[in-house]
């Protein structure tokens, strides 16, 4: 261990790393505490790409596992050092290098925080839509590595739709630049989008070139409380079928109503089983008109309370609460397990029905929130106590929810990535051949297997 500290000190200086167990505790897991598996030997915080490349090269020469980490806000155990070794924390690579107004692109370092980047971009009249709800802390590198999405995906897509190019350190320490700052690019394999979503298993991302779009001039938020979850699901799928495209469309459970009620008056009826929180954008008139039409449609279909929040300050309150709902729920239970199965949007009502019956059959408290507008659902199992029986039922529920999603043409993860959480289920979605191909790709990038080992597929499938 002393040797490691000495080496790291040479590579990144004495302030660029820690091997103290007191510092390392928090690096054992991401935003899911129970995924802690291995103890890291060191956390390293390189100050630039050159230092990062030296650390990666050192790890590969010495066969030390290396796990990239952004903010550690992931929900799949992705940045946990499952096999120990070095946690490579990118948070000091946080510069916004360029916002190019003429080309509508930006170049950032991987550790830049999403919210800070969005603020900088919006100050210049541009828009970077991807909005995982952890935006106040999550890094753009983490977003790229997980292909993160958020409420705006319904209209604007996810991180993957905005990545034009990357700078990355290969496991041998070589620095590559993939893609370009061009909107069109058809030379060679699309390594940019191979690294996007690779969860730190292929290379360390150090910079990203991102596409920007003009900022819509106005938004209008609307909220509809529905007596039943099924009704909410039907409203979502009929809205999409009707060609209306909100800029955000979230399905929330009753528990969220009580939280909203701390801020809004008159209070929302808490007896509703679900609520839809929506935003429309465009010119002020367009946004308002769409919201009004949607409100009318929700009332026609039986929503019990429908409101518009055209004022930005009021709307911001609703969305602030939205971004805090998940941690708030977690803080109220012994343990919460959250899923991110995604289904085609016309299958949402069926999926909701199936999830609700799985919860009932296994006698589990399950909430169902989600970025419903894009079919990305978060069935959330809430546990008041943890014992082998409960854990067994939770595992059964996970498996059945995932299978239900797949049978409807869905995918096992819409945005959180596979990490540790879904490794055992990946084969269900992709099949043996695709996994075998992916493992050959992994081998080509990372022959010694140092990059984020233990993730994406279960150990028995690791070469």
């Amino acid at each position: 261990m002393r040797g490691l500290a000495k080496d790291l000190s040479r590579l990144v200086g004495p302030d660029g790393f820690s091997t103290a167990p007191e510092d390392l505790l928090v690096y054992r897991h991401d935003a899911i505490g129970y995924f802690a598996q291995g103890d890291p030997a060191a956390v390293v915080l390189p100050a630039d790409t050159a230092q990062a490349a030296r650390v990666v090269a050192y790890a590969s020469q010495n066969g030390i596992p290396l796990t990239p980490r952004g903010a550690g806000s992931g929900l799949s155990g992705g940045c946990t050092p499952a096999r120990g070794g070095i946690v490579l924390d990118t948070k000091r690579l946080k510069r916004i290098l360029e916002i190019n107004q003429g080309n509508l692109t930006a170049r950032v370092e991987a550790g830049a925080v999403l919210a800070a980047f969005q603020q900088a971009v919006e100050a210049q009249g541009f828009f970077y839509p991807p909005d995982p709800q952890s935006k106040s802390v999550c890094t753009l590198g983490g977003n790229v590595a997980t292909r993160a999405g958020g409420p705006r995906a319904v209209k604007y897509g996810t991180t993957g739709n905005y990545v034009l190019g990357l700078e990355a350190v290969l496991p041998g320490g070589e620095v590559i630049r993939t893609g370009s700052a061009c909107v069109k690019h058809s030379a060679g394999y699309d390594l940019t989008h191979l690294l996007t979503g690779s969860e730190g298993t292929l290379a360390l991302i150090t910079q990203a070139t991102l596409r920007l779009i003009p900022k819509p001039p106005a938004t209008c938020t609307a909220l509809a409380v529905c007596p039943t979850m099924k009704m909410a699901a039907r409203i979502v799928s009929e809205t999409i079928a009707g060609g209306v495209v909100p800029s955000m469309l979230e399905l929330l459970t009753t528990a969220s109503l009580a939280v909203f009620n701390r801020f809004v008056s008159p209070p929302l009826p808490e007896e509703g089983e679900a609520c839809l929180l929506m935003e429309f954008d465009g010119t002020a008139q367009e946004a308002l008109r769409q919201a009004q039409e949607m409100a009318a449609a929700c009332r026609d279909m039986g929503a019990i309370d429908v409101r518009l929040a055209p004022r930005p300050e009021e709307a911001a309150l609703y969305w602030m609460v939205r971004s805090r709902l998940y941690p708030l729920v977690v803080s109220r239970f012994k343990r919460v397990v959250t899923e991110d199965v995604t289904v085609p949007r016309d299958r949402i009502p069926e999926f909701v029905t199936q999830v609700m019956s799985i919860a009932a059959e296994l006698d589990l408290a399950m909430g169902l929130t989600g970025h419903a507008g894009d079919g990305n659902m978060h069935p959330t199992i809430r546990m008041d106590e943890i014992n082998p029986d409960v854990e067994k039922r939770v595992h059964q529920a996970l498996e059945r929810v995932i299978k239900a999603g797949l049978s409807l043409g869905g995918v096992i993860s819409g945005e959180h990535g596979v990490g540790l959480h879904k490794a055992e289920f990946l084969e269900l979605e992709l099949g043996r051949e695709q996994i075998a191909l992916m493992r050959r790709i992994k081998k080509a990038f990372d022959p010694t297997g140092i990059m984020n080992p233990g993730k994406i597929w279960p150990p028995e499938l690791e070469a």
Binding site: D23, G33, L45, G72, S136, L328, S331, V336
Partner: protein, 398 residues
């Protein structure tokens, strides 16, 4: 705010979401996650409660590396009392030995007897000579403000309201200009002011040292001094005193205990002096010329920012005084009470971005109701460039 064990349940409610990174001024400097509330809480639990880690130098450093600004607690979706957990940990980690106990009894004297003429004047330099008080500590006035005040200050004419004024330690001994300004604006606006005997330090600095017993003793004194007063409000010019008297004091004691009850009864009456005046309305119109100012909102005001804003609203009535907001008035200045004395580089790093904002605001002075922020920003900007908001109003009454 008792033993760590009382916080176990709260600690277990941490969702590990990591949102506390967004708010923490200490984390913003080093970007090491062990300095966030998430990391520190995990460490406190492992080392000080569950015995999973031996308690070494690094644990002490990490527990010490917190400004107790409370920003994390306000950001935390679960609303966990994260600053209090750090206080409870510091209480366990208090150093022993003769030097520490000498320092402790010196602190106790200063905090209990601050109103007595000469106590600070003598103890302060003595402390510096003995190396018990850092040299960057401001020099206290020879005679504290309260030494020369009657028990009741009466306005000329009929009183429009009656308040008890809790004079903070800083206004009493360091920033007497603030104390005089507060006295002037209260009296000019027809407020009768009681200055109850026996007021001690509010106890927040004691908590920052982990001296929970001392904070409890001080709270008992203050409750005794203030509870009997028949007043419309208890006002104070200091943000940290508001925080302590209004939000923290009752939490020092067992729930339902007589002390907790007394503190809870007092809490709703506690207001920042400026907010009280704004609510009452000015009866005397400020006529003198004002200057342009920008607000630095102290971290400790996070739970009652509207009171700071109300105080600021008064200044709009001063002729020619212009408010020039800075980009983020609520961003920390790096002082953290006396944190800056021991963590030079870290505090300076936090202050640097604040100073940039101040510069960009192009205001003539910074106003802030917190004496620690005032002192620390003043060290960089010059003492005349940072004032209490009410000093601007008082200036317009000259």
């Amino acid at each position: 705010m008792l033993g760590l064990e009382q916080y176990r349940e709260a600690m277990e409610r941490c969702s590990q979401c990591g949102y506390c990174q967004a708010a923490c001024p200490v984390f913003s400097q080093e970007l090491l996650e062990s300095y966030t509330a998430r990391g520190r809480t995990l460490l406190i639990k492992a080392a000080l409660m569950d015995g999973d880690l031996p308690v070494g130098k690094r644990t002490k450093e990490i527990v010490a590396n917190c400004l107790l600004c409370g920003a994390c607690a306000h950001t935390c979706p679960g609303g966990l009392p994260l600053d209090e957990i750090t206080v409870a940990a510091r209480s366990l980690l208090r150093p022993g030995g003769p030097a520490a106990s000498l320092r402790r009894s010196l602190h106790r004297k200063l905090m209990e007897q601050r109103g007595h003429p000469g106590s600070l004047g003598k103890l302060g330099p003595l402390g510096k000579t003995l190396g018990l008080a850092p040299a960057d500590l401001p020099q206290p006035a020879a005679r504290p403000f309260l030494a020369d005040q009657p028990l009741v200050l009466r306005p000329s004419g009929e009183a429009r309201a009656r308040v008890a004024w809790f004079v903070g330690c800083a206004a009493n001994s360091l920033h007497l200009d603030t104390a005089r300004a507060v006295r002037k604006v209260l009296l000019a606006n027809g407020v009768e002011v009681a200055l109850p005997e026996g007021m001690a330090c509010c106890g927040l600095p004691a908590l920052a040292q982990g001296e929970v017993d001392l904070a409890q003793d001080l709270a008992r004194r203050n409750i005794a001094a203030l509870a009997a007063q028949e007043v419309d409000a208890v006002v104070t010019e200091c943000t940290s005193c508001v925080l302590m008297l209004r939000d923290k004091m009752s939490r020092l004691f067992e729930p339902e205990s007589p002390e907790a009850r007394a503190a809870e009864d007092l809490a709703p009456k506690v207001m920042e002096a400026g907010a009280f005046l704004d609510q009452l309305g000015l009866s005397k119109t400020p006529r003198g010329r004002g200057i342009s100012y920008t607000l630095h909102q102290p971290c400790h005001a996070a739970g009652f920012a509207q009171q700071v804003q109300a105080g600021l609203a008064l200044l709009e009535k001063v002729p020619e005084a212009g408010y020039r907001p800075m980009a983020d008035p609520a961003a920390c200045c790096g002082a953290g009470g006396d944190f800056f004395l021991k963590n030079l580089a870290l505090s300076r790093g936090v202050r640097r971005s604040k100073l940039e904002q101040i510069e960009q605001s192009r205001a003539e002075v910074v106003v802030t109701p917190c004496p620690a922020c005032r002192h620390y920003l003043g060290l960089a900007l010059g003492p005349d460039k940072v004032k209490h908001p009410l000093a601007i109003l008082a200036g317009a009454y000259e």
